[in-house]
């Protein structure tokens, strides 16, 4: 197990992402942050509260469960069963710029599922993908608009993001 | 000549190691015999008994020959040690006149396996309304009368049947099932029918009719035989009737001594039978009844059905278990092994007592009697394999059961008609 990001580095990366997001949102269109369960949700909450502070405007936060939209339900890739949880988006996503947040962007399949899920919920003005870790190995033509840390990790290895709220500390490890 | 076997002949009070000599289809002598014989069977370590009798089987001919014929059924019976069987009249058409009775006898003779007897119907077409020609059927050789398959619902008709039968020396047998209690039930009414969501047949269905019939027998004083009793309540009714010296007899099947309604929990239709499998308490009462000498015959109620007929949801499948070819081992398991009966006690219920009920001069090794003999290996252990059954149907829940007690040879009229290892 190798630690590739410690908590200070993660803090720095998040700050950097926020700066980019703010500078892009020059037209002050309504921004909302939606995190993909389950660690994307935590990152989204952090991002939305910082964004709200920095912009002085309330940036709403929602949680998206993509289980129903996964493409591997009938061809399970592992023995772990996907668990259906709730999607909690307490606001209308129409005409908003949705910052879709996930912990790791790898094959791009989760992001694809998340986009399909969002489109069934409404018509956002734009969807921008923000991720903490962007690893090579795309299987779908999907790119992050805001990529925190780019890395090239061998396919057999797992990039695990641990966060204080769920795992007790902030760090990113390779297993 | 059968040498050195343990000869058990309850009809003559015999249980000892000796020889049996058959000459010209008849029993010539039983005892220490020095004579020379053409054919000698060494029965050392085996039990030698009068040919076994099963007084309740269904051979489905005429009408449902794909399930079983008299030929296949009697072949199954003889392989199981039975030298005489009694068919039930609920064939299609039913056996309710003398030509039908003669038909069964003729087919039985042609098959040359066991003696095939038949009961006649009490009422025409088993409808329970008009009496059938019991006189002619009795003269043609019917050994009793029953509407088996159905219970005779109307009490007045039953009384009339009993009174009429008093003219002939016959036994009236009843499949005790009061339909207003039984309804459309398919298994015993109890905890299991409740959780399996199936309509149940209460024990009252059997007991109500048995009680009623016993009252009628008090008036008519005709020999009455309660078929396949299954409940503790029925046992008590029989006990009281016998205590009052009424001419009442009864029979029990192996499944009612070995299986409970819990067996239906997986909806396996091989356990669907009528009367249904009951509770453990009922089994105990039946075993006690046997120990007390209240039961007169052990029968299989051999009821063949095709796999396609049984391969239905439990509610829709027909009732019935085939039992001939595993009967002996099952009786041993249920009664001899737990010490409820000794071998002589068991043999009595399969020879002299049923013979008396149906009024045939069989079930005995007395001098001059028919040379029907069964040779049993009481220690042979084996596994029941339905695929080896000679019966055409295999609807049997005992596949794979390990039992003890196997028929070695069956001799009918001096002729070896079955030999283990054939």
């Amino acid at each position: 197990m190798k630690v590739i990001l410690n908590s200070e580095q993660i803090e720095q990366i998040l700050r950097r992402l926020i700066t980019h997001i703010i500078s892009d949102a020059s037209d002050r269109a309504d921004i909302a942050v939606i995190g993909i369960r389950s660690r994307g949700e935590i990152l989204a909450q952090r991002l939305s509260s910082i964004l709200s502070e920095e912009t002085g405007k309330e940036v709403p936060c929602g949680t998206l469960d993509i289980t129903l939209y996964r493409d591997d339900l009938n061809a399970p890739q592992s023995t772990v069963q996907p668990q259906v949880r709730t999607t909690e988006i307490g606001f209308n996503i129409d005409d908003k710029i949705i910052i879709l947040v996930d912990d790791v962007l790898y094959t791009g399949r989760s992001a694809r599922a998340a986009m399909d899920a969002l489109i069934d919920l409404g018509r956002p003005k734009a969807i921008r993908l923000a991720v903490l870790v962007d690893r090579t190995g795309r299987e779908f033509p999907i790119q992050a608009d805001y990529a925190g840390f780019k890395t090239d990790v061998a396919p057999g290895k797992l990039v695990q993001v641990n966060l204080i709220e769920s795992d007790g500390k902030d760090e990113v490890v390779i297993e | 000549m059968i040498k050195n076997g343990r000869v058990i002949d309850p009809a003559n009070g015999l249980d000892k190691k000796c020889d049996v000599l058959i000459v010209d289809e008849k029993i010539a002598d039983v005892g220490e015999i020095e004579k020379k014989a053409e054919k000698v069977i060494d029965a050392t370590g085996k039990i030698v008994t009068p040919g076994l009798i099963d007084m309740h089987v269904h051979f489905r001919e005429p009408g449902d020959e794909e399930e079983e014929t008299i030929a296949s059924g009697s072949a199954a019976a003889v392989a199981a040690g039975f030298t005489s069987v009694v068919c039930m009249p609920n064939t299609n058409p039913t056996i309710d006149n003398e030509t039908d009775v003669e038909y069964i006898h003729r087919k039985g003779r042609k098959a040359r396996k066991t003696h095939v007897y038949t009961m006649g119907a009490i009422t025409k077409q088993l409808q329970g309304v008009e009496l059938a020609e019991m006189g002619f059927m009795a003269e043609a050789g019917a050994v009793g009368f029953t509407d088996d398959g159905n219970g005779l619902q109307d009490p007045a008709v039953m009384l009339r049947a009993l009174k009429y039968a008093a003219m002939f020396d016959v036994v009236i047998a009843q499949h005790c099932q009061d339909n207003s209690f039984a309804g459309n039930g398919v298994m015993n009414a109890g905890y299991y029918s409740t959780i399996l969501g199936l309509p149940g047949i209460s024990t009252l269905a059997e007991e109500a009719m048995l009680w009623r019939d016993i009252q009628l027998v008090k008036k008519a004083n005709v020999r009455y035989h309660a078929q396949h009793i299954s409940t503790a309540g029925s046992v008590e009714l029989i006990r009281a009737a016998k205590k009052a010296s009424l001419p009442v007899t009864c029979e029990v099947t192996p499944h009612h001594l070995l299986l409970t309604d819990q067996c239906c929990a997986e909806y396996d239709t091989n356990y669907k039978v009528n009367p249904p499998l009951r509770s453990a308490e009922d089994i105990d009462a039946l075993k006690q009844a046997i120990a007390d000498g209240l039961v007169d015959a052990l029968v299989t109620d051999h009821a063949p059905h095709l796999q396609s007929e049984k391969e239905l949801e439990f509610l829709a499948a027909p009732f019935g278990i085939v039992g001939l070819e595993c009967a002996l081992g099952l009786y041993v398991k249920a009664l001899v092994e737990p010490g409820i009966l000794s071998w002589p006690g068991l043999i009595s219920l399969m020879t002299e007592r049923p013979a008396k009920i149906i009024g045939v001069d069989k079930g005995t090794l007395g001098k001059g009697k028919q040379g029907d003999v069964t040779i049993i290996d009481p220690d042979a252990e084996y596994e029941i394999d339905v695929n080896k059954f000679r019966s055409k149907s295999k609807n049997c829940p005992y596949h794979g059961w390990k039992v003890t007690g196997r028929v070695e040879k069956t001799i009918v009229g001096g002729e070896i008609r079955f030999s283990a290892g054939d």
């Binding site: 069934d120 | 409740t194 959780i195 949801e313």
Partner: protein, 319 residues
């Protein structure tokens, strides 16, 4: 921000839902938790998710039922499955095509899930032993109606938080009710005290051996219970007249406004539907503020979606 618990490594392993008697409380709770995730599909504007896209669901209904069948149909289509409706009158003596033949014919066409309602207890189990598709029991004889019970306990859990320690009465023709049986399994496993109420002629054999109390008097019970489930009296089933008249039944066992006055103020009133107004309950009660009957219907969709999702998952994981 709430601390998230580590995901439990629970696996749903049943490719059939035949009944609740054989499930444990963890499994039942898992279905309820899963159903929560499906609720919002019915409330948002695009009422579809691609979860069962390309899968074929057959509604094999041998008994009349528009309500349950429609619920399954809608649930399956909301998950983008293709639905085939197959309704058939079956006679007790199987004339014509047997259940087995019917199912095998359907299977030959390539189906994934069979939702079956049949008058013979055990028919879904029989089917599950003979075909490869997933089998979901929509009601078999007097045996079980698992999705109804699941939506019942889901509705209770949603309102009351938990079933632990609740006193729940089920009132009606218990002997012939598969809803009562599935309910009592689910409710007792989730920690509720269940009491069956009805006339002695409508109680099943050896009812005392079930994990329930029994009462022949609704009046005796009404003040003590937190939830009351009124079963539909089905005239078509009652050949044999176990109670002398509708009037007498509703007098002793009907949920009247008067009885409601004596009940707890927050008592939950349930009914699997359709209601015989004036028989099992008075209209005012059915439409009153304690009634959750319409919520039951709504929750039925989420529960059925969850069930089809789960059995499909179990089937997919075993390939």
């Amino acid at each position: 921000m709430a601390l998230m618990r580590k995901a439990k490594h629970f696996k749903w392993q049943h490719k059939h839902l035949l009944g609740l008697r054989e499930l444990n409380s963890e499994e039942i709770t898992y279905i309820l938790d899963t159903a929560k995730g499906f609720e919002q599909i019915s409330t948002r504007s695009v009422k579809k998710a691609p979860t069962l896209r390309g899968k074929v669901v057959v509604n094999l209904f041998f008994e009349d039922s528009t309500r349950t069948r429609n619920s399954f149909t809608l649930a399956a289509s909301r998950l983008s499955a293709d639905v085939i409706e197959f309704t058939k009158k079956a006679s007790a003596v199987s004339k014509g095509e047997t259940l087995l033949d019917t199912a095998k014919n359907l299977e030959a066409m390539g189906i994934d899930i069979v939702v079956i309602r049949h008058s013979a207890g055990g028919a879904p189990k029989f089917l599950s032993r003979n075909i490869k598709a997933c089998v979901v029991n929509a009601g078999d004889g007097y045996c079980e109606h698992p999705t109804q019970a699941l939506l019942d306990v889901y509705t209770i859990r949603k309102l009351k938080g938990t079933l632990e320690g609740l006193k729940i009465a089920i009132v009606g023709d218990i002997a012939h009710s598969r809803v009562a049986r599935s309910d009592l399994w689910a409710m007792s496993k989730l920690g509720a005290d269940v009491i069956l109420v009805g006339p002695p002629t409508l109680m099943p054999a050896e009812v005392g051996r079930l994990p329930v109390d029994v009462s022949y008097s609704l009046d005796e019970v009404i003040e003590k219970v937190d939830v009351i489930n009124m079963l539909r009296i089905q005239f078509e089933r009652l050949g044999g007249n176990p109670f002398p008249s509708v009037r007498e039944y509703s007098h002793y066992f009907g949920l009247t406004v008067e009885r409601m006055k004596r009940a707890k103020s927050d008592i939950m009133v349930m009914h699997p539907g359709p209601i015989n107004r004036g028989l099992e309950m008075e209209s005012e009660v059915a439409d009153g503020e304690n009634s959750v009957i319409l919520d039951q219907v709504k929750n039925g969709l989420a529960v059925r979606m969850a069930v089809m999702f789960l059995v499909n998952q179990a089937a997919a994981q075993k390939i």
